[in-house]
């Protein structure tokens, strides 16, 4: 039996707004230790689908849930392994692995990460928010938020953590915790809709929160928190958001229908809070199941990953701001979930 070759697609050259490279994190599937990190070099037109392992002589673990860059470091949140893997943003070499376990040595299961003033904040399924110093790479403190936090964002000098309560299904949570970074205490719980998930912020300090409903009769939706008031000021029941990315106050929001399998990417103006377009993809490029969405900050291109059926290796597609497919990375990894662009 021979290994089947993985295809790559037609690889793009150096037209990505002086962007030198792209990191693509693929989650893999639980209990398989098969999270992978791919790197694409726009300069060399080369795609390495398992760069973390080839550089660091070990796998990332189980499962790579989030990835963000801060300064010259790349942070990868590995959930069941309960680790924050810190890499050099340019070389991909591991600098440190930070374990996140509680006093009983139980895994906290970190989910998402964000940064403010030299500190990394990581929310974990055990309800905690960790503060990590980005210079020493030590965990400094923990604070408790709500049930099973599953999203984090920072704006207006405050930390927002969405409490999903997902492990209490069907008794989901419906709150976003506001944490003051100075006292490192939860100062407020904002009531949102059911099952809040990822959050993105615009230039006005508005926070857009994906609400996943109860996965049965209460559908996915979106709401807006005003970070000056720290309350929900608008609910978009007509936008069944699964995930979104915001670039220059334009949000790209994707949706997927479990029943019919159809999906769409909406374009939304965060300043007027109105939908600009119901279908971003203008050239008819089909996507089976969108899984991640990110905008290249240097070019404005919109990247959408397609996870197919979550058991096959997914693709990563690049669209122009006009919604035309520019290129795709084929079979880049199992469930591509996060992208980071390197200038």
């Amino acid at each position: 039996m021979e290994d089947r070759p993985e295809t790559n697609g037609d690889l793009p050259g150096l037209d990505q707004g002086a962007c030198r490279g792209l990191w693509i994190l693929s989650e893999g599937l639980m209990n398989l230790n098969n999270s992978t990190l791919a790197y694409y070099s726009f300069e060399q037109k080369s795609l390495n689908k398992n760069v973390f392992r080839s550089l660091n002589k070990r796998g990332l673990g189980d499962t790579g849930n989030d990835m963000k860059a801060y300064g010259s470091k790349l942070y990868i949140v590995v959930s069941l392994s309960s680790q924050i893997e810190v890499l050099d943003l340019y070389s991909g070499l591991s600098i440190k692995r930070i374990p996140l376990f509680d006093e009983n040595r139980q895994a906290r299961q970190p989910r998402y990460i964000d940064f403010l003033d030299g500190k990394a904040y990581v929310c974990s399924f055990d309800g905690s928010l960790a503060r990590i110093d980005t210079a020493s790479l030590e965990v400094e403190a923990y604070v408790n938020c709500g049930r099973n936090p599953d999203g984090i964002c920072l704006t207006n000098n405050k930390i927002y953590v969405s409490n999903s309560g997902g492990l209490d299904n069907p008794h989901f949570d419906n709150s976003v915790s506001v944490v003051d970074p100075l006292s490192f205490r939860e100062v407020k719980k904002i009531e949102t809709g059911l099952n809040p998930y990822q959050m993105q912020v615009d230039s006005q300090g508005d926070i857009y929160v994906v609400l996943r409903g109860n996965l049965l009769d209460i559908p996915f939706s979106l709401c807006r928190i005003d970070s000056r008031l720290d309350s929900v000021v608008q609910v978009f029941n007509d936008i069944p958001a699964w995930n979104l990315a915001i670039h220059n106050d334009t949000a790209y929001i994707y949706h997927y229908s479990v029943q019919g399998g159809e999906n769409s990417v909406k374009v939304f103006d965060c300043l007027t809070e109105t939908i600009i377009s119901d279908q971003f993809i203008s050239d008819g490029t089909p996507i089976t199941r969108p899984y991640a969405i990110e905008v290249n900050p240097y070019s404005g291109d919109v990247y959408i990953s397609d996870a197919y059926d979550y058991t096959l290796w997914g693709d990563c597609l690049c669209f122009s701001a006009e919604g035309n497919l520019k290129f795709r990375f084929e079979s880049v990894g199992l469930n591509p979930s996060s992208l980071v662009f390197v200038k």
Partner: protein, 681 residues
């Protein structure tokens, strides 16, 4: 994760790994017995443990049946039924490692749900999971294991046993007494690495010429904390030394039986069975989190009472009646689940009532006709289900016939199944009726050389997990179908005086349609059972059995098998996994057993080989799992002390200590040792 769920993800261990996810439902990035000739079973315990019969020739009138009896498996370093089944041709055993790890078999890659299990001739079922953990059955008290592919050899069977693609039959030791003896006693004590302690007792008592009693008591405990190496990549990458945690098991079984037989060939048996266990579920080995990644526990209890009656009503007419009442209980606990309670707990209770009657008309030895009717009522109680108390009433009706004329043997049956579902107020599975045929023919070319062919079409019902479990269950499922076509030849010969050689070669083409698979719907966390999957299986099984007498007091036996299989996903031509080999199905696999008996000594060597497999749907290098070979040796010595026979044995498992995995991230134990002491009188 709920252990119970992992059972339902049969044939998709890659998905089993998701079992955790399944109960989470959390969005966002990150779930036997062929009625053999009673005379052949007349031997005593001593004979079994000391010398016994040689392993039986596998070419029986051109039928596809493989057998292993106690004389062989007692001489080999096998503890559980699953250990022995690994050496059957065309069988792959899914083994999650350790004595407590789930073990199921897939015959010719059809999947675990397609092999029925019978214990002393009555079906053993589990309506919740649809498959049985074969780790539960110890070899100690068994007389033989046999595996039929396609049609069972003996058509005078309960109808339920016709309703599967393959049939695994376990036959417990029946009492047999040497002239003048009234009692047989066997005491066995086994111990070994990782805290294994395994005492058992078998007592057989002859009441009179017609009645006898038997009592089997079995206990097993193991810490199971074996060391293993965790590989963080491929060769040259990081490796760490770990110890398997939370892999302990304690199991207790009690099995009293009553046997009756008169001189006219009528017989009756009543058997009580009670089995309970507590075990840790160690889960997959997770990188950087091996200490506390799973603290999950499982407690289970099974008990049944079964009765069997067979009578010769008339020289041409025989009757068989079987009945069984079966209850089981499972309790699952995850003490560190990150919900508000800080734990995840579930209980499941199952009940089954079963009645079977078969009538055989056999006017002459070359012709027989059987009418067999079974009825079974199964129900499940659990709060974890969409519906509170799903019930299933199953009716199986078989008309089977067998005829031989000259060199030809023809056998066939028509099976009618009627399955009725009742799920109270909730959504329920549809009732189902189907008529399925099976036919087999064999031709004797010359004495000892046969060619054979069979065709069988059969289905398996969705289990209650498939239909009703939490949000994963899908009441709209329809049965999963299999079709098998087999062509083969078998040769049985005595190449030299004192030698027996059997060779067998079969080629087959199987098809699975409407395969029931767990499939993610909303995201990686939310899975649903769907009829989605079509599999094309083409394979060849080869087996060899050779026995050679080395003078009066010594004999050598060799048993070898090789399987070549192409098991392709042919579900969706548009998919990148189309035409790829299914996960966990090697193209090449094989096994070998060599047994030398000399005077009171027995020396055995065994080898198990599996070629590369893939743990994912795409046959990409990253999904590849390396080939492995597992070897074991054992040495037994018997003594006679007055009227007591004593056997001392030592075993080495995984001789080379080379680590391997059958299921990704579930390490199998490295080198380990066992010693045993058996007293029989």
């Amino acid at each position: 994760m709920k252990k119970a769920i992992s059972f339902l993800l049969e044939a998709k261990p890659v998905l089993i790994c998701l079992a955790f996810a399944l109960s989470v439902v959390l969005p966002g990035g990150a779930a036997l017995y062929a009625l053999t000739d009673p005379v052949a079973q007349e031997y005593t315990i001593e004979e079994i443990t000391v010398l016994g019969r040689e392993s039986k020739a596998k070419v029986q009138e051109g039928k596809l049946i493989q057998e292993m009896d106690s004389s062989l498996f007692q001489a080999l370093p096998f503890l559980q039924v699953a250990d022995a089944l690994k050496f059957f041709t065309g069988v792959s055993v899914k083994d999650y490692g350790g004595l407590g790890g789930l073990k199921t078999i897939s015959v010719r890659s059809l999947g675990a749900h397609h092999t029925a299990l019978s214990y002393d001739g009555l079906p053993v079922t589990d309506v919740q999971n649809g498959q049985i953990d074969l780790g539960r059955f110890a070899l100690d008290a068994l007389e033989s294991i046999s595996l039929s592919t396609g049609q069972t050899e003996d058509i005078f069977q309960p109808a339920r046993l016709f309703a599967s693609a393959g049939l695994l039959q376990l036959q417990s030791l029946k009492p047999g007494f040497a002239p003048g003896k009234k009692q047989n006693l066997r005491l066995k004590l086994q111990g070994g690495s990782f805290g294994l302690l395994n005492p058992s007792l078998l007592l057989q008592r002859k009441l009179n010429d017609q009645h006898s009693l038997s009592l089997d008591v079995y206990y097993l405990q193991s810490r199971g904390d074996y060391p293993y190496l965790m590989y963080y990549g491929s060769e040259g990458d990081l490796v760490s030394r770990e110890r398997r945690r939370n892999s302990d098991i304690r199991q207790f079984r009690l099995e009293p039986s009553w046997y009756w037989r008169n001189t006219k060939g009528s017989e009756a048996t009543v058997k009580l069975y009670y089995n309970q266990s507590e075990r840790g579920l160690p889960g997959a080995g997770i990188y950087y989190n091996t200490e506390t990644s799973s603290g999950q526990r499982l407690w289970d209890k099974q008990s049944f009472i079964q009765g069997h009656y067979k009578s010769l009503l008339h020289p041409s007419w025989s009757l068989r009646l079987n009945t069984k009442i079966n209850g089981s209980y499972t309790h699952y606990l995850d003490p560190s689940f990150l919900n508000s309670d800080g734990r995840d707990e579930a209980e499941y209770r199952q009940m089954e009532s079963y009645l079977s009657g078969a009538l055989q008309y056999r006017p002459q030895s070359a012709f027989s006709l059987v009418f067999s009717q079974d009825i079974s009522m199964q129900e499940l109680f659990s709060e974890e289900f969409l519906v509170n108390r799903p019930q299933r009433l199953s009716l199986y009706t078989v008309l089977a016939g067998k005829a031989s004329a000259g060199a030809w043997n023809l056998s066939g049956n028509l099976l009618f199944c009627r399955i009725m579902e009742e799920a109270g107020a909730g959504p329920q599975g549809a009732d189902y009726s189907k008529l399925t045929p099976s036919v087999s023919v064999s031709l004797r070319l010359v004495q000892g050389w046969y060619v054979r062919a069979f065709y069988k079409s059969i289905f398996r019902m969705p289990s209650f997990n498939d239909l009703y479990y939490g949000r994963i269950g899908n009441p709209d499922l329809i049965p999963e179908n299999t079709r098998q076509l087999n062509l083969g030849t078998g040769l049985s010969t005595k190449p030299l005086p004192g030698q027996e050689l059997s060779l067998s070669l079969d080629v087959y083409a199987n098809r699975i349609e409407n395969k029931i698979v767990a499939y993610p719907t909303q995201n990686v966390f939310i899975w649903t059972m769907l009829n989605l999957g079509e599999v094309s299986i083409k394979g060849a099984d080869f087996s060899l059995d050779w026995a050679c007498s080395l003078g009066k007091n010594a004999a050598l036996a060799l048993r070898a098998s090789y399987t070549l299989q192409s098991v392709l996903n042919v579900t969706d031509p548009e998919s990148r996994a189309y035409g790829h080999q299914l996960p966990y199905t090697p193209k090449h696999s094989g096994s070998g057993v060599l047994l030398l008996r000399a005077f009171d000594w027995q020396l055995s060597y065994n080898l198990l080989y599996s070629g590369i497999r893939y743990s994912g749907f795409e046959n990409y290098a990253l999904n590849r799992m390396p080939a492995y070979a597992d070897q074991g040796i054992s040495l037994n010595k018997s003594f006679n002390l007055a009227k007591t026979k004593m056997t001392l044995g030592a075993e080495v498992l995984n001789l080379t200590g080379k680590q391997y995995e059958i299921i990704r991230n579930y390490p199998m134990p490295g080198r380990s040792f066992r010693a045993k002491l058996v007293f029989s009188r």
